[in-house]
Symmetry: C2
Subunit: 156 residues, 2 copies
DNA sequence: ATGCCAATGCTATATTGTATCATCACTGTT
DNA sequence: AACAGTGATGATACAATATAGCATTGGCAT
């Protein structure tokens, strides 16, 4: 059983525990994100499903499926890029901490890391002091991955 | 001289120091953001300029003007909302630290606060450890402002 | 079989953003 | 004042992202 299948099985299980279903189309979308390991737009996922599964999903359905996957915390939306990415923690018990996303501006590769408790508390304190109430903490940073960084600096 | 005019004068001065010009249309756009104190979309700014100055700015121009204002660090783009907001530090010498934006999901009011050195270093360390290179640190958090928070919690 | 309800399909449309080329307006020079 | 050069703006078309609203399907419990 390959690694992506195993992740999808975990996701399936996790949905069942919430009384939800990971339908075959939802699995197709999720697998697209998992296979690419990158951030993808909804329309890229439409194309992926067409090529890979000969499945003509309308964009509307993909958006709905992405909404569902986000609810289930299997997918995150990256607002920096208006793209979507599979959660990195589907397998590891899937306790969902606050995430810090490092997005390569060049190749769209995404790394999801967890923020430390101290940093989170500090940030949260800033929010409270400013008279605001945190809703959904998630941090996104425009970066370059090592590969793209090397590539770009060697060409300058 | 009202406060917004004084901010615009600062901005004007700051542009001159960079050998750039804050033209009247650029001032109109900036003043829209300053007056509202909220995050506004490019198209909202088109409408604003039409109503306030009978100026029929094409959207394309507003985007160009916003690009310019971002270069001059007079305006920030909020990717969480795909909207734009005036920088809070135009007057105070305008040294530009890393900003943490608190965006009210309900009324779009924005508060821009500076991140502490410790938090920044910690976040930056995470990035380096993950093998990435930070490009443009800017943090945005979906929040509710006190007013909207009270309003929503009292209605539930 | 039937009826329910979640999931999906379909169509239209809104919103955000960019490409391209034309025109305007200010500046300095003659 | 005429002129050219350059940055700013206009105009048009279009791409990309996202949502609204209503129709249809399909699995499941009774």
């Amino acid at each position: 059983m390959n690694s992506i299948q195993s992740i999808i099985d975990h996701a399936d299980q996790s949905c069942k525990e919430h009384g939800e279903k990971l339908t075959s189309k939802r699995k197709q979308v999720l697998s697209g994100l998992l296979k690419s390991g990158r951030a993808m737009s909804a329309y890229e996922l439409v194309d992926y499903c067409k090529k890979e599964f000969s499945e003509n999903l309308p964009a509307m359905s993909v958006y709905r499926i992405l909404d569902f996957l986000q609810q289930e915390q299997l997918v995150h939306k990256l607002n920096l890029a208006n793209k979507f990415v599979a959660c990195s923690h589907i397998r590891c018990g899937h306790v969902h901490a606050v995430s810090q996303f490092l997005i390569c501006s060049s190749c769209q590769k995404v790394k999801e890391i967890s923020i430390t408790q101290e940093v989170l508390e500090e940030l949260q304190k800033n929010v409270t002091d400013a008279g605001y109430h945190l809703q959904s903490p998630q941090f996104e940073m425009n970066c370059l991955c090592d590969a793209c960084f090397s590539a770009s600096s060697s060409c300058n």
